[in-house]
């Protein structure tokens, strides 16, 4: 099927927002390729006309009444945040300053 290069591993780690050490990248390159080798068995199966299964029980259009309900207490939720200010979670700036 496919083979992952070191550059591919670095690219996927970036997509997954995982900061990996050089050793981890080297180890993962070998391990992920070994796991991908196991996927090759699937190419033996002809599946062009098979419908995909995303879920196994036949539930459809699950709706609920549109009723307002109390939310979780703000202080309990904020207690888990790394940093907060009043009723707000503090996050690092994601927009740079306009030049």
């Amino acid at each position: 099927m496919a083979t992952l290069s070191r550059a591919d591993v670095e690219h996927v780690a970036h997509l997954a927002r995982l900061g990996l050490s050089d050793d981890e990248i080297a180890l993962l390159e070998g391990q992920l390729n070994h796991i991908l080798d196991q996927y090759a068995i699937l190419t033996k199966l002809e599946t062009d006309h098979i419908a995909p299964t995303a879920q196994t029980i036949e539930l459809e259009n699950i709706l609920r009444e549109d009723v307002a309900r109390p939310s979780l207490p703000v202080e309990d939720v904020l207690a888990n945040a790394a940093d907060h200010d009043g009723d707000f979670v503090v996050v690092p700036a994601i927009l740079g300053e306009r030049d």
């Binding site: 900061g19 993962l28 090759a40 196994t56």
Partner: protein, 522 residues
């Protein structure tokens, strides 16, 4: 009554004695807490035990029992059999105000702001929550060795794993720290540890139990289920937690049969259920890699079922060999999406310096997740990435259709249940499969097709091989939990006199020795 006697009762025996007034939930709960506190240095089944809250819940249960006794007129008999009975929860079930680590550093310090649906249900019936049990990080693993807090030992041999990912609950139930436990099963994480610890563990039909308040791994596969020391207790716990919950839109409105609370108590009646049942023996589950001792025990169990009047037929599930590859595309893909939420901002430690959001994400996730979680997030991200979706995820979903169709064809033929090994091997030594992820993944070869097809499955003890437990797996059609539990109860009845039934885990005595070492890395 001594603590040793109290902890050895099955849950239904505890229920009877609580009603009779022989024992109180407080003394029962205290006996379990004391045993867990004394022995856990060697077992490491628990990540947190909340003695104070558990004893409060026990006292509440005692008041409810006393009130029912005062009321008379059948009020005692109407109580749920779990009232006052201790339960262990896997540490991914939310209990308001308590820790919920999912075995990960990335949830260290997190306190759940609400109760999971099953926690509410357990409170409603009056079960006593002792604490939270160890697990592979985010339920990814088959040994508990992937817990960020170190592995759990197997009470049958403290040098071996209890299986996983729900290994803490399995070991706690096997070691009499709790009569009942909760696990989750995405590819075998209840059934495989049940097999390796000599306990009963059931993965219900997908949608049977609400997952509201339970840390997600792979959302099209995850199910919550019971551990117990017999089928009746597993049925009672399933009865307490199953049913529709509108906060989990995949939970099903299919009614939960009250029959689960009335599995036969007499062995004769229980054995009678087996007569005429059509049991399929899937030949693909008896293949290379299975230990001879495991195969021998499973074949003996099949012979015993046949002798009791069951009709055993050779059947085929031709796409079994594709299960592992299919699972290891679907589960990591779904996990990579579910675990995107761990960003160090709303909960969990933030491991960056707070100045740059991307650098914070990379540091928090790179250092907060362990090796197996990173491996699966990488696999899943790759399988879903541009240009590979059709080749991997879509292909796997199509093969999933074929795997499910294999099972459907057997139900259409009138097969009542399939009988197979749960795990191809008995409990393995610490470290044996850690260097090779694929070797660890093969631990679940006999269980993960059941998750791919959304079916219920149960593992029940079927004797020992070289002194270690072997599990017999029963697999049924959707919503057939009660029937699987009846068959399991029947199997217990026809093997009630077997010598191995009387054996306790061999290393229990070592757990009482303060000099016994903790599992490696704890």
């Amino acid at each position: 009554m001594s603590a040793a006697e109290l902890t050895r009762f099955h849950a239904h025996e505890m229920a009877a004695r609580l009603r009779a007034g022989d024992i109180s939930s407080r003394e029962l709960t205290d006996a379990h807490l004391t045993l867990a506190e004394r022995q856990d240095h060697g077992l490491h089944a628990w990540l947190s035990v909340d003695r104070e809250r558990a004893l409060e819940e026990a006292e509440t249960a005692d008041l409810r029992i006393a009130a029912a006794r005062g009321e008379g007129g059948g009020a005692l008999e109407a109580l749920h059999p779990l009232l006052g009975v201790p339960v262990a929860l896997k540490d991914l079930v939310s209990v308001r105000g308590g820790r919920c680590t999912a075995g990960s550093r990335i949830l260290e310090g997190y306190r759940a702001p609400y109760d999971a649906h099953i926690t509410e249900r357990l409170r409603d019936v009056g079960a006593v929550i002792l604490g939270k049990t160890n697990m592979d990080e985010f339920a990814m693993g088959s040994s508990t060795e992937h817990s960020a807090f170190g592995p759990t030992a197997n009470p049958w041999d403290l040098g071996r794993v209890p299986g996983g990912s729900s290994g803490g609950s399995a070991a706690a139930v096997a070691a009499y720290h709790a009569p009942l436990g909760i696990g989750t099963d995405t590819g075998g994480s209840i059934r495989q540890p049940a097999a390796l610890t000599g306990t009963v563990g059931m993965k219900p039909t997908y949608g049977r139990v609400s997952r509201y308040g339970i840390v997600a791994f792979a959302s099209s596969l995850d199910q919550v289920g019971p551990f117990a020391r017999d089928a009746r207790d597993a049925a009672a716990l399933l009865h307490a937690i199953a049913g529709r919950d509108e906060r989990d839109s995949t939970s099903s409105p299919v009614p939960v049969p009250d029959h689960l609370l009335h599995l036969p108590s007499s062995d004769d009646e229980a054995a009678g259920v087996l007569r005429g049942k059509r049991l399929g023996l899937p030949r693909e589950y008896f293949v290379a890699g299975m230990e001879p001792g495991v195969e021998a025990r499973v074949r003996e169990a099949v012979a015993a079922l046949e002798a009791a009047g069951a009709i055993v037929e050779d059947v085929s599930l031709p796409h079994t060999d594709y299960g592992l590859a299919t699972y290891y595309i679907v589960a990591p893909a779904e996990a990579s999406a579910n675990l995107a939420r761990y960003d160090g901002i709303r909960y969990g430690p933030r491991l960056g310096d707070g100045r740059d959001v991307l650098a914070d994400y990379l540091a928090t996730r790179g250092r907060g997740f362990g090796a197996e979680v990173k491996r699966r997030v990488m696999l899943g991200t790759y399988a879903l990435s541009a240009g590979y979706y059709d080749a991997f995820y879509l292909k796997a979903q199509k093969v999933r259709t074929l795997i499910k169709a294999d099972f459907d064809a057997l139900w259409a033929e009138g097969i009542d249940a399939l009988v197979a090994p749960t795990s191809p091997t008995v409990a393995f030594r610490f470290g044996a499969r850690m260097a090779d992820p694929v070797a660890m993944y093969l631990s679940d070869a006999c269980t993960l097709p059941v998750n791919m097809a959304g079916l219920p499955g149960i593992s029940v003890p079927a004797g020992l091989s070289d002194g270690l437990p072997v599990g017999l797996q029963l697999i049924g059609a959707p919503w057939s939990e009660a029937s699987l539990l009846e068959l399991s109860r029947g199997y217990e009845a026809i093997t009630a006199a077997s010598d191995w039934r009387a054996l306790e885990p061999a290393d229990l005595a070592r757990l009482d020795d303060p000099a016994t070492a903790s599992p490696p890395g704890v």
